[in-house]
């Protein structure tokens, strides 16, 4: 028997998948023809999955340069009658916000779905924004799954709903959906393939003030129809318990926690539960039914009190004397868990807690001090370690000329190099958003008197680094912009980008060079260095900082993880380094304290290199004051 895969047309069969694969599968079942995205945790695997089967299933799939372009690519396909989607992490939706809000006015022709992968507790993000609020602002209906299976089902249905109402839909995933694993029951795959057709329709597609005024009422009409329809959608379910005092309204994944919590407390028959799969718009009729049948309500949802505020508004409108709880008992910060939901429900039902959580908290408090701090680190052989070292040495040299107290400022960005905010690098002073390093540097240049060295990666440069670079030229910001070019979108899993020379679907592409772009934008100091040549890299960066005007240094060296992988393929041996204990001064620790490479460790008071981790980059050998670090050549 042939093993089942994500593209198997095997309705009824069960497949074990990652949540993001399930979302991709839903789109495949719906016959999606165009998918675009920019990588970002926890969303990347959606497009990766689609890219892997694009040719087989006759779809067009691309990694776009950023989320705005990705959404526009999908919107254009929809306008031409094609089923299309864009997927992105929650903060990526901010980048796509501009076309997104007007897309609400346009609606959709071919089914159009935006997947927003929210990240409660900001596991791999700069904030924990709740994109249901963006959807609210744009009159975008939201489907929010309670499980991986439902994520698949909702995604498939979202395209149909989008076409039924000629409106775009949002699927709101969260980390614990996209990065959850589960078995799913497969549905049938639609093999319908449409031909795109662009029909000129000024009133629908050209947004001058006139069209905005014409289309907004039409959008509101569509939204009203959707509002009625959600009351009968299978994703919203009301289960009334006989004479229940408490009603629980559980949105999305919170529904799973709620089911476990009431079971744990043994009160399954004593509470009414309204499962919400469409937080925007809410199924008002079901909410009113619940409000009229209970004395108290608990709204359970991740992050902001979105459903809670709307339920309160509905209750107010209908004069129901029900006490409504939500964020007073369920945390607004971080992820929910069965424990957090159990505690809230136990409080309202005066139930006995099934586990002595206080005892567990005490145990945790006793345990934490015993544990080592284990932050993620730049990999052994990572070129960013060398680049950051060069940046620090060069900028400190220049800072001395500014005065004794002056320290260089390092605006940082989003990518693996964010990890250099940890010791021993501590070479990142701001992280705000994609491309924010160059933008913030622009502003700093006009208000502080210190060397300003901003850095971002190659993929981030193409995503959002070019406009602030042009701005620096135009507005004469005297800053140094270092592009840490490891030829990969490494943080999210090595997706291709405009600098890699190939596309999501594996086709060859023109390889763009950041240095060519910088020159074309009018930067007068542009140099390319190899960070593994520390001396040259440091000197070049120093020159760039001393240069009067914006300067660009491209620090180029392939991502160590890719290089190791390629070496293995070529059967090329890695030659590690070792420390000659006769030359090493055990009290020196320069290699450890300046580089923090996971391969350099202390053992019985000696500094040694773990040869199983060492990639042979040789950076430590270049900085060792005793020349004690030597390549292991036979």
């Amino acid at each position: 028997m042939k093993e089942l895969t994500i593209s198997s047309d095997a309705p009824g069969e069960r497949l074990f998948v990652l949540g993001n694969e399930a979302i991709a599968r839903g789109a495949i079942e719906a016959g999606v023809q165009v998918a675009a995205a920019y990588p970002g945790t926890p969303s990347s695997e959606i497009l990766e999955t689609l890219a892997g089967v694009a040719k087989e299933l006759d779809m067009y799939v691309e990694w776009s340069t950023n989320e705005k372009v990705a959404f526009e690519v999908a919107l254009a396909a929809s306008i031409c009658g094609i089923r299309a989607m864009a997927s992105m992490k929650h903060v990526g939706v901010n980048v796509a916000h501009d076309p997104l809000i007007t897309a609400g006015y346009i609606g959709a022709k071919g089914g159009l779905v935006l997947v927003s992968a929210d990240d409660p507790w900001a596991w791999s993000s700069q904030n924990e924004q709740d994109n249901r609020y963006i959807a609210l602002q744009g009159y975008i209906p939201v489907l929010e799954p309670s499980s991986v299976q439902e994520a698949k089902d909702m995604m498939a249905d979202a395209f149909k709903l989008s076409e039924e109402f000629r409106h775009l839909f949002m699927l709101r995933s969260v980390t614990r959906i996209g990065h959850a694993r589960s078995d799913i029951v497969l549905g049938k795959i639609s093999r319908e393939r449409r031909k795109g057709q662009f029909t000129k329709d000024r009133t629908w597609l050209v947004y001058t003030p006139r069209e905005a005024r014409i289309n907004k009422p039409l959008m509101l009409e569509r939204f009203e129809k959707i509002k009625k329809r959600v009351n009968t959608l299978v994703y919203n379910q009301l289960k009334l318990a006989d004479r229940a005092r408490l009603g629980i309204i559980a949105c999305g994944l919170s529904y799973s926690y709620t089911l476990e919590a009431v079971k744990w407390l043994g009160i399954e028959d004593k509470v009414s539960i309204l499962k919400i799969g469409t937080p925007n718009p809410l199924p008002e009729e079901l909410v009113i039914k619940l409000l009229k049948s209970v004395k108290e309500i608990l709204v359970v949802e991740e992050l902001e009190p979105f459903v809670e505020l709307h339920v309160k508004a509905i209750a107010g409108e209908h004069n129901t004397p029900v006490k409504i709880h939500g964020k007073d008992l369920v945390p607004v910060v971080g992820e929910l868990s069965t424990r957090r939901v159990t505690e809230a429900i136990a409080h309202l039902t005066k139930s006995k807690l099934p586990v002595d959580f206080a005892q567990l908290d005490k145990l945790e408090q006793e345990t934490v001090p015993l544990l080592p701090w284990r932050p993620p680190a730049l990999c052994p052989g990572c070129s960013h370690r060398a680049s950051h070292y060069a940046i620090r040495v060069a900028s400190r040299r220049v800072a001395r000329d500014y005065g004794q107290e002056v320290e260089p400022i390092y605006p940082g960005d989003i990518g693996c190099y964010s990890l250099a905010y940890n010791p021993p690098q501590e070479a990142v002073d701001t992280i705000i958003c994609m491309g924010g390093s160059f933008g913030i540097a622009n502003g700093l240049a006009h208000v502080v008197d210190a060397p300003i060295v901003a850095h971002l990666g190659d993929s981030t440069f193409f995503h959002a680094g070019i406009p602030p670079l042009i701005n620096a030229v135009y507005n004469k910001a005297n800053i140094t912009m270092v592009i840490l070019d490891n030829s990969a979108t490494a943080m999210t899993g090595f997706q291709p980008h405009p600098g890699t020379g190939y596309t999501a679907m594996g086709d060859e592409a023109i390889q763009l060079k950041p240095e060519d772009i910088a020159k074309a934008c009018g930067v007068k100091f542009v140099e390319v260095v190899d960070p593994f040549d520390l001396k040259k890299a440091t000197e070049t960066i120093e020159k760039a900082i001393r240069f009067d005007g914006p300067a660009v240094v491209v620090s180029r060296r392939l991502c160590a993880m890719i290089e190791q992988r390629e070496k293995r393929k070529r059967k090329e041996k890695v030659i590690p380094y070792y420390i000659d204990q006769d030359k090493c001064s055990p009290k020196c620790n320069a290699c450890i304290e300046l580089l923090g490479c996971p391969a350099i460790i202390k053992q019985d008071g000696k500094t040694i290199i773990d040869s199983s981790l060492c990639t042979g980059c040789g950076i430590c050998a270049q900085i060792c004051p005793y020349k004690a670090i030597i390549e292991e050549r036979e």
């Binding site: 959850a180 694993r181 799973s256 079971k263 868990s337 945790e364 080592p372 993620p376 923090g596």
Partner: protein
Amino acid sequence: MIKEFNILITGVGGQGVILMSELLGKSAVKDGLKVRGSEILGMAVRGGSVTSAIRIGDEVYGPLIPLGKCDILIGMEPSEALRNITYLSKSSLVILNTVATVPFTVSLGQSKYPGLDEILGKLPQASDRVIKLDAAQLAQQAGSLLTTNIVMLGALFSTEQLPINTETIKETIRARFPAKVAPVNIKAFDLGYEVCRQAVK
């Protein structure tokens, strides 16, 4: 019918924790069981703490194991097992690889790594049953240090508490690896199975 069976795998990025949960999940589905799970990868990069939950059964809804409800905790690394102590209850079983992975913050002098005796002294406060093995040594015996995670899977199955058939997981392992390295992995599984079964006895 299995109502709820919770396995928590704890370790360090690069140890193959995610692969273990994939193998377990696939095998469970092959045996007709329902599976849920979730993982946390720190900032998705090497070297950080990693945990992965695999939950089997008809009454499992959420992706995370509730505190105190873990049936078996696999510690790929001693301090990472300890970090997740609050998932244990007295009836939980801990299977511990005793080989430490010391983070670079210890070399930098910014944190301390507890002694193995300290960890083994603390774990029994939560759970009565801790099985220890040197999985790295067994992996090397099998032919590659990279099979440490498969040794631990063997140990897990030797407890005979799992609702998954041992033959099923071995079949999944064989299918997952290229023909050249599959035997090494099966050997690793068998070694873990045997050594741990002796320990259980």
